[in-house]
Symmetry: C2
Subunit: 198 residues, 2 copies
Amino acid sequence: MARIPASERRNALVEAALRVVSRQGIAQATTRAIVAEAGMSLASFHYAFDSRDELIDELIATVVAREQQAVIPDVVPGQDLRQILESGLLRYLEHLEADPDHEQAMLELTQYALRSAERHPLAVAQYRRYAELAEHSLEIAADAAGTTWRRPVAEVAHVLVAFTDGLTLTWLVDRDDAAARAVARAAADALSRMADPR
Amino acid sequence: MARIPASERRNALVEAALRVVSRQGIAQATTRAIVAEAGMSLASFHYAFDSRDELIDELIATVVAREQQAVIPDVVPGQDLRQILESGLLRYLEHLEADPDHEQAMLELTQYALRSAERHPLAVAQYRRYAELAEHSLEIAADAAGTTWRRPVAEVAHVLVAFTDGLTLTWLVDRDDAAARAVARAAADALSRMADPR
DNA sequence: GTGCGACTGGGACGACCGTCCCACTTCAGT
DNA sequence: ACTGAAGTGGGACGGTCGTCCCAGTCGCAC
């Protein structure tokens, strides 16, 4: 194995861990499985990280920080709010269908964090990030449609996050594209009714 | 230990397993932890069950079959659909706040089932049950409010399940009663707009 | 080139896991 | 009372886990 500074090894191990968690679940993300995925020896693991817990914590932080705007509204002139929101949710659905393992991994990491008091803040940070992204999307969408939210946008954002979570869970279980699209349509419709023309 | 027929031991072990999973998560639900919770010896476990997997499968089936109508609409004469749905969702929220570990366990069991092809149908059955319960509630609510659903009730039920999942996840992470109530209110509002006066 | 700190590999550790074995006890049917 | 089946207890098995140790190797500063 080539000589690699510990800081780079940390990154490589986090990436390998994400792949293992996505593919096999967090329960299977053992130090040995992660190290094999990264093509390293076990000793390199504990040279870069004090413990497996430390890596998992960094994995969660990394993956949350990297979380992209998955539901960027696709602003097409002339569309009303409902249409903009629906296309955004459908875009998220495509993202989910393209890489279901990743979203499943995110859910597992959340639940993992919820199981210990020290890690709970990581889950809170994850959902704060989700809320921020949702808020941003909602502002763009309302602006493009010439509407204003009847309730504080943060509150609407919580609803959108809740909807997205539910959509994710439902699709992961049923893998029913048509049903998920119907949910997305209904969600867009429901959300759009929470705004008034400006 | 008193002599207990194997069939009763199976029940006792499933109950003990549910308590362990709720309290500590499925990863900690080892044969030894379950047996200790049930006050038995390890041998009794493998006398009643061939394997831990067999018990987990039965645990999921049991807990799904037992799933109660958590969001029974509280029909008070004179309430409109939005109010009926909101009180139902708030009732669910109280149920969640009263026993958060149980809902967290349900989520974990779903994810656990999703991780293997053989167990996937258990998760599907779980969500089919959720959808049935939601459908039933929605029919009662619309009927009491003198409204009809604009879309097939099964479709609206999917939305309600998705909303409930999202609500659950959000509250489990933030433990913010006020925010959750706002989400419930918004959800009820959104759902109520999916029906028309009869 | 020499030394020293950074990095590597393999093997080992104790703990815990699911499962199994076997001698033993209890009980129901006769 | 006798017997066979049902149920019990404790200890042991092989395997995997996270972690650690340590001898060895590399690369850079001097």
